[in-house]
Amino acid sequence: MYTQGLDQKDKSAPKRDAMEAPEQLEAFQARIDGEEKIEAKDWMPEAYRRTLIRQISQHAHSEIIGMQPEGNWLTRAPTLKRKAILLAKIQDEAGHGLYLYSAGETLGVSRDQMVADLLSGKAKYSSIFNYPTLTWADIGAIGWLVDGAAIMNQIPLCRCSYGPYSRAMVRICKEESFHQRQGFDILRVLCEGSREQKAMAQDALDRWWWPSLMMFGPSDAESKHSAQSMAWKIKRFSNDELRQKFVDVTVPQADFLGLKVPDDDLEFDKETGHYRFGEIDWQEFIEVIQGNGPCNKQRMAKRRTAHDDGAWVREAAQAYAGKQAAKHAA
């Protein structure tokens, strides 16, 4: 799955570290421009490191929190096959969170620290996961729309200039290829089913469409910080470019399902070959980011509880390892 708000400004970051000589920065930029990958121990500007830590950890947190809305239907999945598929998908998300935390760790920040920042509310995760999954059709909508939007963003990240992040993304994209399809498949079966089932599918699209468009982050006009990320090749396409691409590929899929996209302004522009779509409610986006979405509190509370409840287990394992090591040393 995916993270957004890649353009958030790092308020604590100094403009340029005093120790960074212009020649060093130039040499670094030349490597980036030459499409060389930057590796963990290579010299890098402090701002590049911080930007990556913020983005990668946010991405990791999104994977972890993203397990919850889908997990909400795991015990109630309607068939054993669907249950197994959904479990495999949620497990992948745990795995992806893990790969991403590992990539973050190569930049010198511990997983513990990243998790602490999530639990304290300092670090963000994708706002999409603060929406509730109210019916089984929502599981389909998450796979189809949320993973669909995620893929748009993640594929360019496979070419990100930072080696460990790029490698993690290659692995993630490969594994996620079935995620979107399983979501679409859930909705297809619902749309071919009873009237109630089809209504369930339409209701899910109605609720998930706009939040999915918000996943791409603020419009280009509003997102002033992405220029640096583009120059560093952490980001390859602008938010609006990706959002447009998503709308262009998704609307025909909705048509195929016989579902109506909840946007009266949606219209295909023959000249440009793109869909024009209505205004996004950015106020809602800001509210959800700031913690006022329907499920922010619930998601964080569950994560905190799991973390706190696990403390004695993590400690026990370390205590045991310590005893064993002492035995071997003796």
């Binding site: 999945a77 249950k83 197994a84 893990l98 004695w312 370390q318 045991y320």
Partner: protein
């Protein structure tokens, strides 16, 4: 009880055990103590769901009434389920889950090893596959029980409490009824008395390494094999069966 009936009942029980345990593990998703263990739990739950599907599919063929895996999972009532009571117990804390798995899988692995050589080829095939999965689970989970038992004072007392609480549900694993007896006689099925001896010594060895005390064999609860469950079970399957019950006949 005739041979065919016993085979069907035995197969369904295997499916019920796998599904009920799998469902309990599914409830724990996104609540594990560490990310890596989250992945392990999901792997194990997927193994159980897979086994349940294979056993149910086979049961449907044996029955010959057109029922499939989902009919057995979602459209049977509480008292038609014949899983062990141990498996339906609520999850509790991590130590409870681990203790439950070690106690059960120490039995299940021996059962599967015996089934690999039983006279029914389909059961033998499924068992051959399942035993590889369970052998790994059991090693992983036993290792965890040892870590908890021999970890901190807190983890030791928690793990001891888990083993003590769940011990009363282990008697049922080894109490043969008509289905077990007919299956053993007609299909060269597992000898539960023999399995019990091995189970005792294997479990004792793990508990010893975990510095835990083996509970005394006191009162043993039973009833799962006859469809008499604990109160917890009704809620579990009500949740699991909700969609199939609310929308009869729908495809998903």
């Amino acid at each position: 009880m005739n041979k065919d009936k016993a085979l069907l009942a035995y197969t369904l029980r295997l499916g019920d055990n796998a599904l009920v345990l799998g469902q309990r593990m599914v409830e724990l998703v996104a609540a594990y103590p560490e990310l890596e263990e989250e992945l392990a739990n999901a792997n194990f739950a997927l193994d159980y769901l897979g086994q349940a599907r294979m056993f149910y599919t086979y049961a449907g063929e044996l029955e010959g009434k057109g029922r499939g895996e989902d009919d057995f999972a979602f459209l049977r009532d509480e008292n038609e389920y014949r899983n062990f009571l141990l498996l339906e117990q609520p999850n509790g804390h991590f130590g409870d889950s681990i203790a439950k798995l070690v106690l059960y899988e120490s039995f299940y692995l021996l059962q599967l090893e015996a089934l690999v050589n039983c006279a029914d080829t389909r059961i033998a095939e499924i068992a051959a596959r399942a035993q590889k999965e369970i052998r790994y689970h059991l090693r992983h989970n036993s290792q965890w029980l040892i870590r908890l038992g021999d970890g901190t004072d807190e983890s030791h007392s928690k793990a001891q409490g888990s083993v003590d609480d769940l011990w009363r549900y282990t008697g049922e694993l080894f109490a043969p009824d008509e289905v077990d007896n007919v299956f053993e006689a007609e299909f060269d099925g597992p000898d539960l008395f023999k399995i019990q001896d091995e189970w005792r010594s294997n479990v004792a060895a793990v508990l010893e390494e975990a510095t835990l005390t083996k509970p005394e064999d006191g009162f043993m609860a039973s009833g799962g094999k006859e469809g008499r469950h604990t109160e917890y079970f009704g809620y579990m399957i009500a949740e699991m069966q909700y969609l199939q019950r609310a929308y009869p006949g729908a495809e998903w």
